[in-house]
């Protein structure tokens, strides 16, 4: 990764077989489909890539599979998510050994401390894999710490951080971060994790986006990025409106919450579109079934996407 990363870098959703194994054929279809759509990179083992659900062996398998499929066509960022420093360093070293182009880590979680410890955490991980570009993953909904903008810019200036993936849903803080980063000479690549207000993040000056929904529909995000690059804001807005409508798959279901609702809807959509063989979820989460699959299918159809399989087929793709 010689030049700074820019553009659309989807977090890669991990396809499973009904038995819960990695579904390599589906993985190939999905990754090739995103690269063909023109994405600028891929982020594997993010929150939606089920990093928290995957054992170390499974994480290694996912990294190897993704890198083999991508085969250098785009850079691959690898999530090294774990509770505290030494555990994260182990993942970082494994990612480096396997060939990651960059890694992405969160603030420590489970046992919280103060801001000084969060900063020390990033510095220690960077020191352990100094030649691997390091992205901070700002995701308070999962780790219950919001990364302060001044710390991020300082870590950028010190060469610790290469960039930030902002999934904080705090667009005010993001705009101030973009501004501070520009004032500091743009040491950080700033990527938004938003999906339905990416246009606003581009208005704020984001360097790119990491939208989970791009697994379902990458071409729209690529077109939005290209419109942004050429300053065509009406096109940016029109693309975002269409993608916001599609994002309703994650609010269309009932009786499910959190990861099961969000990634559950992504996997279900991709199974309906024929990209994934099943909508299987990692334990202890159950796949969507019945009326929830139909609800996802209805949103896809409303948005003009053609279903390759019926809701019944997708519901039957995993056990009860």
């Amino acid at each position: 990764m010689t030049t700074p990363l820019r553009g659309v870098i989807p977090p890669v959703v991990t396809p499973l077989t009904a038995a819960g194994d990695i579904d390599v054929a589906s993985f190939e279809r999905s990754i090739n489909r995103m690269i063909d759509a023109g994405v600028d990179g891929l982020f594997t083992l993010g929150s939606s890539g089920e990093v928290a659900f995957s054992t170390d062996a499974r994480r290694r398998e996912i990294i190897e599979t993704v890198l083999r499929i991508v085969a250098g066509r785009v850079p691959v960022l690898v999530g090294c998510i774990d509770t505290e420093t030494n555990r994260v360093i182990e993942h970082a070293k494994a990612a480096k050994e396997l060939g990651a182009d960059a890694i992405v880590i969160t603030a420590p979680f489970y046992a919280l401390g103060g801001t000084a410890e969060v900063e020390r955490h990033f510095r220690l991980v960077h020191a352990a894999v100094p030649d691997l570009p390091l992205f901070a993953y700002d995701i308070p909904v999962c780790v219950h710490t919001k990364l302060p903008g001044d710390m991020l810019v300082r870590l950028g200036l010190d060469g610790v951080l290469a960039g930030v993936k902002d999934s904080s849903n705090d667009d005010v803080a993001f705009r101030f971060l973009v501004d501070d980063n520009n004032k500091a000479g743009h040491p950080l690549t700033l990527l938004t994790g938003q999906e339905v207000v990416v246009d606003g993040a581009y208005m704020a000056g984001a360097d790119g986006s990491v939208p989970g929904l791009a697994n379902v529909e990458a071409t729209g995000y690529v077109r939005m990025w290209q419109a942004y690059e050429r300053g065509d804001w009406s096109a940016v807005r029109a693309e975002q409106d269409k993608l916001a409508a599609l994002m309703r798959i994650v609010t269309s279901t009932s009786g499910v919450a959190g990861f099961g609702a969000g990634v559950g809807a992504f996997k279900t959509a991709m199974a309906l579109l024929g990209v994934f063989s099943t909508n299987q979820m990692p334990e202890p989460v159950l796949p969507l079934k019945g009326a929830n699959v139909e609800a996802v299918a209805a949103v896809l159809t409303e948005c003009g996407l053609e279903l390759a399989r019926t809701p019944e087929e997708v519901s039957a793709s995993t056990e009860a």
Copy 2:
């Protein structure tokens, strides 16, 4: 108010004398300045208008003063903020009697219940003042309830709500609300309470904005709105960038938090600009002093605004 409200409707900051009384001369300067800048309405007794700090008599005095100064030049929305239904209805009736064009109320607070009670609250207040347009004020940071989009649209369709002032800082929910409102035939006027990501809210399709910072600099928000109306997104973005830089007045201080930092910075800026005579705050909040006033002044100067008074003069405008 015969036509739907649109555009820039600043929440009016309330000027106080050093003794803590309403400062009518400053109020006139400030309101006339905003109307001259071309705002489309004014919202008095919002959170930044110190509604929570004002006794009933003070609220009445503020409403009367604002309505007298405005003299029908723009519509005036009045905040009727209180803990539960019957207290809110008293404020609503007073606002109606005094001549408010519309009122703005939050979900109940202090004693929380469920969603059904929140909806009933809006219906009961509307029933008490049925001919006064009612806006829902979605401000979870103050009332600890997020108003659900489906409830808001339902209340719009039923003629209970005329609109929503969204201060939830949840831009994803806001975009979905805009979309649902459009699908329902646009029963609600949707105003964003954002200040530094108003461009994003316009991208989402907001009908207007209610930025507290417009007390300090209304012309920029008016120009941003006009640019939005004519589809000139580059101009929207440029105006927002300048206003975001100015908004740093609220993060420039230290040792203060919440209302004292936010509205404290607004009042200090307006005293530095010569619009307000003092930067006095309502009890138990103390006005900014010394280095904090200097910090606000530095931001104003950096943004190209000319100071009418020195930081020392503003610090001396209230007692220690």
Copy 3:
């Protein structure tokens, strides 16, 4: 109130008629029943006394009614709950004028600031009614601020606070507060607002309790206090166990939350016991009905209390 308050001081639940007016006859039955049971004081217009739901006129009516019924038999504390300082001072002056023995106030709410402002708030209210004993009401679930123990003891030593009603549900902080208060010479009367772990609060050294459940069953709390006073911990525990079983009325219902579930169950129990004429709730809260009334009745019966009215009669005591 010449001597420090000690013992059981129930927060008085406010009975309403089906039309929503104050039900004076029920009020007399309930207050006399608690005084006859041997309570050491009464706290009117607390959170469960529906202070947040009551207009100023209603608050005045409640204070007058309670003081007239009590007629000096026990001291009466009056809640002066409102958003910020000047509004609270108005309530404090009214309470003083009406003859309150002491007042109870929370930290400011709606517009939050820092700790310095919370301390200033208590000092300003005390300065406005300097001869009226002032209790701090620590209730973060309603006001979203936890009062720091060191501030409370400092305000006690300075003669600002006479005591604390602790409804923070933070028993660790309460034990440290008791300890700090003792080290400082016991300037504060420390009352727990707990209901089912009052025994623990007594172990910690509380000076008394303010249990809402005492509206339903005061004699048990009085016996527990007397057992504590004579050091009979087995009796303390046995009484607490019985009262904890009775407290299940507030968890026995479904489809209701917060104030409607808690005070709703208290009012329903008192209606079933024949103390209250109705279980009417203040708007926008609806009274319990049907299966929820039956659930409360079942708990009462299981705990050996005799019902004066059937669930059907109580459900019929208010409109649908």
Copy 4:
């Protein structure tokens, strides 16, 4: 572990050398000291045992070291804390293979879902190690989910859970849980994770306690348990009061927060008492130094504990 666990089961704090390795000699001193004091079991790799900071290899080393030192004198519970089901199962199998007497797991964290998934998580882990007693660890401050009492009792009745370690700091919920467990025939062993309100938990009917402070002073907790067993509540209270005073070590410091303040104070106290060689902390947490070590020493001295080393010696036991 043939009989239900009861009594005092301290969570074992992990001693480190200045270089960050396991300090086996200190471990032996500490564990033997607790067993000699009469504890009824030990819980290794709990939150204060730095489970979240330990790599898999380190976890294995800790388990082996503890089991070797304990040598069957008391049962050893092992924390198998990780984000989601399959990762937890790996730890559970390792603990079983190494000889744990029971394991302790939390709700899933990082990626949250609904209650159904939490219950499924416990069932799946139990199914993977069916003959190993499984304790639920209710610690919302770390995992941001509160375990519902009815689920816990149901899992107890179904043979999934052997007990609960309650670190929720919700004493009301704990009392209801004890009561529900008794009504169900006492399927669960209920242990409180409290330190300064253990007397209240015993009043509520706890089957034992898991106090981190017992690493510093186990004899007091053992005496408190024995007093509880013989019904001597005055002695229970007196012991708790002394231990509450000692617990002030964790609030005596400044500039540190969370794990660094809590476990940092425990380790510092043990270094001052000569049990641990250093007060080293796991990365990214720094050990207490200087004035903070002196503050801990002052509390120990005030509580009558004799220091084996000076604060300066302890500050010098790790690098700057």
